[in-house]
Amino acid sequence: MARKLSFWEGIKAQFSTKSLVLIPIAVGINLIGGTLCSTLKLPLFLDMIGTIVVACLSGPWVAALTGLLTNLFLALVANPVYLPYAVVSVLCGLVVGYMVKAGLFRKKSGVVAIWLVCTLVNAISASLITTFVYGGATGVNGTSVLTATLVVAMKDILASVISSSLIENLVDKGITVIIAWIIVQKIPRRFLSQYAADAVGGSSSTVLDDDADDDAENE
């Protein structure tokens, strides 16, 4: 039944109801991850855990949408400053999603690759937005101060923004990827098996070979 789907069909197949209901919950995981950091007084964001978990369950485009909605939510309830960074979340969701789809989340080296690529994509795209939308600083976090210090030292705004962002992201995304990996390992198999088809776009139901499992019952 594993018919090869076209690119668009593949994307559409990812957006089943089963996947759509995951998105608000993944947005919640992203935000709770961030809130928990401030409660535990950790100097991190950890606001991409939900996006990565969804990438494993429902594929890159659902992960991208999760990223978009996380920022939209932050813009609506916290501060509209977060809105332009939606681009960053979408890019990270896509990149992580396609890397997971390629099977990288199953190998240790793959997890490291996801961490590094995610760090780079995040740092560069976020820096471009900070520099070109906000002129170098948003004034809402510690990064701005770090950037300002680096600007004094390096005399180059974009390079300073990227450097401060890279330092931060390397630690943050590392922990994020590890936590997401641990959570995915803990998801019950019966739940997981209902999702695998969405990521590859297979058919929904097959005909049961009669009494196929009678021997299984005798175990």
Binding site: R190, A196, S204, S205, V207, L208, D213
Partner: protein
């Protein structure tokens, strides 16, 4: 009367699981009757309920055999949305039966109608009617997420019943409620059943099953272990071997050496007599 629900040699296995959740199940439910499904945890009751409303095969993935007809329509060839006009499902956790799109109970009730494109005037009319039936007309402008479990379950019940289904599937719909909340729901069920709505109930409370059901079906590890009138099924000494405890009055009647009667009332009378 004719069978509104017809299940024929139905089997289902969730993907990537070892054994079939339901196997070779066949039964009929007469229109207007109350049909109870009982069995231990994991005996396949919920799987069967999901199959009746079309969630299998249209939502859950796996392999199936046999067929299910709802009012003559093959579930596999219909859609869940289409089926919801004939058969509705209410399950256990009230908070998982909200759409999470509504700011008020009224909006929540109207959600299904909106998806079916029902005109707003008719929508308002039906919301008022269902709210009255479910006794939630005083909380129509409350946020559903701020209600108690019992209230949310009545909202969920209303959201299902607003589609005016002819069959209601109640999958342990009062398990998470307190006894008062549960009896309030079953008062409504009784009324609907009397008005001609077919009820298929899954319940752990055997007294309640004995009280409401016309027919009882016992599931044991996915297969039908027994099916018949409550007094027959409950009188069967084999019942406990299928993981089901008969209602309290059964061992009591047996101890008194009386024949097991159709409903609890004669038993109560008999017990009163013995005590007197």
């Amino acid at each position: 009367m004719s069978a509104i629900v017809h299940v024929e040699d139905f089997s289902f296995k969730y993907r990537d699981t070892k054994r079939r959740a339901v196997k070779h199940v066949s039964f009929d439910v007469e229109e207007g009757s109350c049909f109870a499904i009982i069995g231990a945890n994991g005996s396949g009751k919920s799987t069967l309920c999901n199959a009746l409303v079309g969630l299998i095969p249209h939502y859950f993935v796996g392999a199936r055999a046999g067929r299910i007809l709802i009012d003559g329509v093959d579930v596999a060839e219909s859609t869940i949305a289409e089926l919801s006009n004939t058969i509705g499902l209410v399950f256990q956790n009230p908070f998982n039966q909200l759409s999470y799109t509504a700011g008020t109970v009224a909006e929540e009730l109207a959600y299904g109608l909106g998806n079916h494109g029902v005109a707003r005037e008719l929508m308002i009319e039906r919301v008022e009617a269902v709210a009255k039936l479910m006794r939630i007309d005083h909380i129509l402008d409350k946020n559903p997420l701020e209600l108690s479990g019992g209230q949310v379950q009545r909202v969920a019940f209303g959201s299902t019943f607003i589609m005016e289904p002819r069959v209601l599937v109640l999958d342990e719909c009062t398990t998470q409620l307190d006894p008062l909340g549960a009896s309030e729901i079953f008062d409504i069920v009784k009324q609907l059943n009397a008005d001609g709505v077919t009820v298929i109930m899954v319940d752990h409370d055997m007294e309640r099953v004995a009280q409401y059901a016309d027919t009882v079906m016992v599931l044991d590890r996915g297969s039908v272990a027994a099916i018949g009138a409550p007094y027959e099924v409950f009188a069967d000494p084999e019942l406990e071997s299928h993981g089901v405890q008969p209602p309290d009055y059964v061992p009591l009647t047996r101890a008194l050496g009386l024949p097991i009667e159709i409903r609890e009332e004669p038993t109560i009378a008999a017990v009163k007599e013995v005590l007197a």
